[in-house]
């Protein structure tokens, strides 16, 4: 028993001493182990040896820790902080060779210590096994695995109490440093060998020429970490470094230029420098090829994701720059195909639109322009149109709230070429791809069925990530016009707006030249069908007919047979006319006033001649429409004006008489004095007339100026604007008046009805004129009827009075 105790004590002493010294003097230890084994303590030996070796390693680590800290400091000083090392890396100086060398040295020492101790342990255990062939299976297992266990323990010990955080940081900095050196060298080489095309691709396998011996320490560090069993730590560190390197490069090199592809260079780059770097840190041999391939995929996914995120963040500006930003859009398309960023794309782009576009500060035309660009851009990214549905929804909803949306769309469609934005939209009209008759609305009939069938035949499932709240069936990405027309869900509104704009444009013409309008009309006809645009066609024909008739009328001499008995025929040389088929034009503003006699004479001469040509048709003049070119000589100055007939008429009265009391002139012209004033204000602002108010008189006196006055403007513009507004409201009420009998009839039959039912019934039953008003418009009109005491409104129900 005492012998056993002595042998054990000896083993303890020798093992501590021998293992502590680096595990060199194996003979003494072997002897001690032998004697312990001989005393039957074989099963206890491995634990003792393991404990002693670990303690020895700990002691060694404690010695090295100081050195490691110094190395870490050295690395940190040269790498700098994560936040600010995007640029300015130059000044921080390179990795100091001695720091690197000492890192390798420390690792090598550690490795040697661990490995020799493990080796010794294994040898001793084998020795015990040989000496004691008969052992319990559990003890045998312990003896056999002692070397491995030590390795594991050693790895944990080296990693330290914090689970390797220090190491991770140190390795991260070290790898970062090496990678940066490598990438700088690669860039320098690329710049040096300026036939860049080749250099870009060539980097793939070989990497840049680094100074001899540069790669050695790096390979050593990686290999030693592997040998220490800390591969996971090391991999984590170099993976982080490579990703960060890539991201920084992408952010610095490629962002904010939308006219160049970013993805392909990024992918090429990911396959060059980072792969070269990885080739050095990964173990050599056949396994390395597979690992490298795996890494290649990982890196390219990372590139897709990073480029995608970067581009998505800039999507709003990309759309603004469309079509110059097409390369960026293609980047996004490819990234989305290879990643699952769809949801992020939709969320980010929607947010950007909400924040930057859909607010009161943006002009409607800008919103429409951006919407158009977005439609086109998204057509590249997602031809199925599902994402457009998700992204465009808020824009459409917002545009629906704006009153001038349709007008803007129509203006942009029909505008002259000068406006670049409008021209692009106009060009869109001619886009032959567009399916005719197909707007984004639910209109019915055989066409719709056919369209639905066509649609069904080329149906494809939505992308998985599409917003399921919107069906994509109606969404044909890219057909810009139907998207725009579909904002309001019906083409009728659009067409009626087009008509009224066309009317304005045609009435403003004096030269009957409407080639462009004709072309636009032809394009619209392709899209909306001839029937819907019949009115517009007649309007344009009126212009062409007017031109011919005008020539014919003027060629009728005053002495022609049917006119012989007419008196007061005058020269109509200066008169031309646009003759309308009134039923086919939208409601035109009417304003009755008396024209000056000389003009009346011209008009009636023109009318008589027209009648002589076209009997039994005759003309009804619309005195307020048209335009007048006149030349005003005032003092020494001669001025040219292009004004409305009313303005011209006012001025003509001053030709013969220098001043007119407002009341008298108003009576002469057959208009109320306040309306007269609204018109006179124009001439006052031009400095042609002046206004004076005698005390005690309610109405002013207008006087012509003998010299052109440049005085302060009277508040005229605003009044003109108000006049237009009023005119608009009046006109609307006039249009609504057509429905009054229907409303009255309904309320006779039904006693009382709420507004929406009246609206729906009008929509259902009234076809002549077709009921195309909104609920709001009807509400306003009903309110007017209530005010006129024709109806009463109680509890939301309209009733007939009486």
């Amino acid at each position: 028993m005492a012998a056993a105790a002595a042998a054990w004590a000896r083993l303890q002493q020798v093992s501590t001493a021998q293992l502590g010294s680096g595990g060199s003097g194996g003979a003494l230890l072997a002897e001690a182990v032998d004697s312990a084994t001989a005393q039957g303590l074989a099963s206890l030996v491995p634990a003792q040896l393991l404990g002693a070796a670990s303690a020895a390693l700990q002691a060694r680590l404690a010695q090295l820790r100081g050195m490691l800290a110094a190395i870490d400091e050295g690395l940190a000083a040269s790498v700098g902080d994560e936040a600010n090392e995007g640029d300015g890396g130059e000044e921080q100086g390179g990795l100091r060779a001695e720091v690197e060398a000492s890192l390798v040295e420390v690792l090598r020492e550690l490795c040697a210590a661990v490995e020799s101790a493990a080796e010794l342990l294994s040898q001793l255990c084998e020795r015990i096994l040989r000496a004691q062939p008969v052992l319990a299976p559990a003890d045998r297992a312990v003896l056999l695995s002692a070397g491995h266990r030590f390795h594991r323990q050693a790895a944990a010990a080296v990693a330290g109490a914090q689970g390797g955080r220090d190491w991770a940081g140190l390795l991260y900095r070290y790898y970062w440093h090496k990678l940066r050196e490598l990438s700088r060298a690669a860039e320098a080489q690329q710049e040096g060998g300026l036939d860049g095309m080749a250099a870009d691709g060539e980097l793939g396998g070989h990497g840049p020429a680094m100074p001899p011996g540069w790669a050695r320490p790096l390979q050593d560090v990686a290999a030693l970490m592997r040998r220490l069993g800390l591969e996971a730590l090391s991999e984590e560190a170099y993976a982080a470094v490579v990703c960060r390197h890539l991201r920084e490069r992408l952010v610095n090199h490629a962002a904010r230029s939308f006219d160049q592809r970013m993805l392909d260079p990024a992918l090429r780059y990911a396959a060059s420098t980072p792969v070269t770097f990885l080739r050095l840190v990964l173990p050599e041999g056949r396994a390395s090829e597979a690992a490298l391939e795996h890494w290649g995929q990982r890196l390219s996914y990372y590139v897709y994701e990073t480029v995608g995120s970067l581009r998505i963040g800039d999507m709003f500006d990309i759309v603004v720059d469309y079509p110059d930003s097409l390369p960026a859009i293609e980047d996004i398309r490819d990234c989305l195909q290879n990643t699952n960023l769809h949801r992020k794309f939709v969320a980010v782009f929607r947010k950007a639109l909400q924040d930057r576009l859909l607010h009161p500060g943006a002009a409607t035309s800008d919103i429409i322009q951006q919407y158009v660009s977005a439609i086109k851009a998204l057509a590249h990214i997602d031809p199925a149109g599902a994402m457009l549905g998700a992204v465009g929804g808020p824009i459409r909803a917002y545009l629906r709230q704006r009153r001038d949306t349709i007008r803007c769309v129509v203006t942009m469609l029909t505008a002259d070429e000068e406006d670049a934005a409008a021209a692009s939209l106009h060009a869109e009209l001619g886009n032959a791809e567009a399916a005719p008759q197909d707007c984004d609305s639910d209109f019915e009939g055989a066409e719709a069925d056919a369209a639905a069938l066509r649609e069904a035949e080329r149906w494809e499932p939505d992308p998985v990530d599409a917003d399921p709240s919107r069906a994509s069936s109606a969404a044909q990405a890219g057909d810009v016009i139907s998207k725009l027309v579909g904002i309001y869900g019906s083409k009728e509104l659009f067409i009626s707006e087009y008509r009224s704009m066309l009317a304005d444009r045609l009435l403003a013409k004096c030269d009957y030249d409407c080639d462009r309008e004709l072309r636009t009309l032809e394009l619209l006809k392709v899209r909306f069908g001839e029937g819907n645009l019949h009115n517009a066609e007649v309007m344009l024909k009126d212009l062409a007919d007017s031109k011919r008739i005008n020539t014919n009328v003027k060629s009728v001499p005053n002495t022609a047979t049917p006119l012989r008995r007419r008196r007061g025929l005058v020269d109509i040389h200066g008169l031309s006319a646009t003759i309308l088929s009134q039923l086919f034009w939208p409601q035109l503003p009417t304003e009755e006033f008396n024209l000056p006699p000389e003009v009346s004479a011209m008009l009636s001469t023109y009318g008589a001649k027209y009648r002589s040509l076209k009997a039994p048709r005759k003309l009804q003049w619309k005195p307020n429409l048209g335009s007048v070119q006149l030349e005003l000589t005032i003092g020494e100055q001669t001025l040219e004006f292009n004004v409305s007939p009313f303005h011209a008429s006012v001025l003509m009265h001053f030709h013969t008489r220098p001043e007119w009391p407002a009341a008298e002139l108003a009576e002469r012209m057959g208009v109320p004095p306040d309306m007269l004033r609204r018109k006179v204000v124009f001439w006052i602002n031009q400095g042609v007339l002046s206004e004076s108010r005698a005390p005690g008189h309610a109405l002013p006196v207008y006087r012509r100026n003998e010299q052109l006055q440049t005085g302060p403007a009277v508040g005229g513009e605003q009044q003109e604007g108000m006049e237009l507004e009023e005119g608009g409201a009046d006109q609307e009420h006039q249009e609504m008046a057509a429905y009054e009998p229907f409303v009255m009839g309904m309320l006779t039959n039904f006693d009382a009805l709420p507004l929406d039912r009246v609206h729906n019934m009008l929509k259902m039953f009234v076809s002549d004129p077709p009921y195309d008003k909104s609920l709001d418009q009807l509400g306003a009109y009903m309110a007017r009827l209530v005010a006129q005491e024709k109806l009463s409104l109680e509890g939301g129900q309209y009733r007939k009075r009486g």
């Binding site: 009435l507 007919d545 086919f584």
Partner: protein, 94 residues
């Protein structure tokens, strides 16, 4: 001391009408100033004619009516249909 207004060009706007009294054609119930169902353009392409009985129709409409009937009668008053000579313009005041 001069104040001279010289009209260089007056561009006026007018609408035409058949001046047919009744608003719609008795056959197609479309306005005279519009076009009959098969007409495309109003005015010259959709002329209005009067019978001696003073009833007026679109030319297309009355022609079709007369072709479909054995006897040439006005669809309104059943008198023998005869086209009235168009009034030569200028006499009646406008």
């Amino acid at each position: 001391m001069t104040f001279d207004v010289k009209i260089k060009k007056w561009h006026a706007v007018a609408s035409w009408t058949w001046n047919a009294g009744d608003d719609v054609c008795g056959i197609c119930r479309m306005p005279f100033d519009g076009c009959p169902p098969d007409g495309k353009y109003p005015g010259d392409d959709s002329p209005v004619v009067w019978g001696v009985c003073t009833h007026a129709f679109h030319l297309q409409c009355i022609n079709r009516w007369l072709q479909s009937q054995a006897e040439q009668k006005c669809p309104f008053c059943r008198r023998q249909w005869e086209f009235k000579q168009a009034a030569v313009g200028g006499e009646d005041s406008d």
